[in-house]
Assembly symmetry: C2
Homo-oligomer: 312 residues x 2
């Protein structure tokens, strides 16, 4: 099979009307006047973001979900995605069919479609780049720079579980199953993101660790943020020491939980939302006028690092 055969057989069934049956090298969007189009891109590389030994269907889902999480963080409704895969010749045949099947499952689950992309060979490793397109009512996307003094910082779900799953990926202990599942299959908080759009003054998804991503909110909003470390929603994992779990929660990446600021007056709305969605929403800090530093830690003995994962 050449690239045209792969595209026709495995990717054409995934496309939206806007891809026009992939007959051209381009898709055509008909914009809606009252909406903004929100665009975000994430690449996942073999050996860096995934091992390469996972089921290709699982890799497909992770690729799509980390991008969906970016839409959630903007309060945008995902509508399309664009997919570029570069893959060594000898891997295409076993990788592409289950990869496309994984995409099909998750695009049905999250209600979006493929609009186009590129398929090429690479020399040694797989590279997958997805650009995702979402919609918000005009001017309603949530940015990272809108936090106000006295706004509360909230986070969804638990923190650190994905890092624990990654660190123990090769373990056969049952106790790590939930963590490994969270690492493999992050749950992008798309519906929560849409529900929070009305009240969040700033929002981000936690992909690089709580410390790094919360500091993005503080620096962009030009405020100081006091993180209350004793309030962090930590996972139960009896195989690990408390400080190992806390470390994963502070610096571990790949959680894909939402971190957002809003006025404390919305607490009851958040309680209701949490009950309806069965997703924890925890008050973990407060923003104040900028003084001295962007990030302060309450209830932490150690001096925290300021940077978590770095690619270079």
């Amino acid at each position: 099979m050449n690239e045209f055969d792969y595209i026709k057989k495995y990717f054409k069934p995934l496309v939206s009307e806007e891809a026009r049956h992939l007959k051209d090298d381009a898709a055509i969007l008909k914009p809606k006047l009252k909406n903004d189009i929100v665009i975000s891109t994430d690449s996942l590389c073999e050996g860096i973001h995934f091992f390469g030994t996972e089921n290709p269907s699982d890799i497909a889902k992770k690729c799509l979900r980390v991008n969906l999480s970016d839409m959630a963080a903007m309060g945008a409704k995902p509508i399309f995605y664009n997919l570029a895969i570069s893959i060594p010749k000898n891997k295409a045949n076993f990788f592409i069919p289950p990869f496309a099947a994984g995409l099909q499952e998750d695009q049905d689950r999250f209600n979006l479609k493929l609009i186009g992309g590129d398929l090429t060979s690479s020399l040694k490793h797989i590279n997958i780049t997805i650009s995702i397109f979402g919609e918000t009512p005009s001017g309603c996307g949530v940015s990272r720079d809108g936090a106000q003094p006295n706004n509360i910082l909230y986070v969804t779900g638990n923190l650190g579980l994905s890092k624990i799953g990654l660190d123990n990926f090769s373990s056969n202990l049952e106790i790590f199953n939930e963590a490994k599942q969270k690492y493999l299959f992050p749950q992008p908080r798309v519906d929560l993101g849409l529900a929070l759009r009305k009240i969040a003054t700033s929002m981000i998804d936690i992909s690089d660790g709580l410390v790094q991503d919360s500091s993005h909110l503080a620096t962009n909003s030009n405020l100081s943020l006091e993180l209350n470390v004793s309030k962090l929603p930590l996972p139960n994992c009896s195989a690990l020491k408390a400080d190992e779990i806390l470390n994963a929660a502070l610096y571990g990446g790949d959680d894909y939980e939402l971190l957002f600021s809003c006025d404390f007056a919305h607490q009851s709305y958040l309680n209701t939302l949490s009950k309806e969605t069965n997703i924890k929403i925890t008050n973990i800090g407060v923003f104040t006028e900028f003084k001295d530093v962007y990030l302060k830690f309450k209830g932490l003995d150690q001096t925290p690092k300021t940077i978590s994962y770095s690619h270079f």
Copy 2:
């Protein structure tokens, strides 16, 4: 430097207003009601699409230009591009600064800006994926499926020069300089594409070779196409035999010339356009009602292959 430092120093100066200073992981487009948004994506991989030993500035230009060529083929005006780079840690430092400088030059030359993307490490090779965004008046994008019986097939420029440049890239003979330049720096026919939008019934850019790309027009339009091989605009290259040049013209990729169909009545408009732009526009074939095969060759003794470059 970590990825945030690289982005801030080298890529932030390239961004458009829609990227909102890259403060979020997403750009926000405000659509214009009377325009369609045309989106296309091309990945370039080290060792496949480029050697990796070129000046990174030249690689940047090639990446942008192959995507610009896709806009030209749709008759779309390029407005933004989105950039994902995955690069080994030990290459980032010397690669990124000149790469960004090359982007700056070409985005000024072709009048478009960066709207966002991703920067990650990779294990061994560089992967660059660009998604490009263009505009057409609503419904005016040129597709590959609109050729009509008796339409003429035209091509811009010369054919095969880029393949000759690639095959002789390591040669020091001055005679190959023009070809090597064409391989390194394709000239996307953006202005021509816009001027042809009014009259072209189908259009494609030649990235995979004349035979393959002209067959896309024939199959998508469900017509037969007779290519007049004796009329092909061939480059002068006294170092090569005539059949080597013809082979490059028929099957060589990376020409990035426009191949389009239109009514013969537009010949005088094309003559004027050719004079104004100083770019050859040559009549090389004719479409007819479908009979037997999609592609026929007039003036060719050998039986042509039907597929040119294949990634897999």
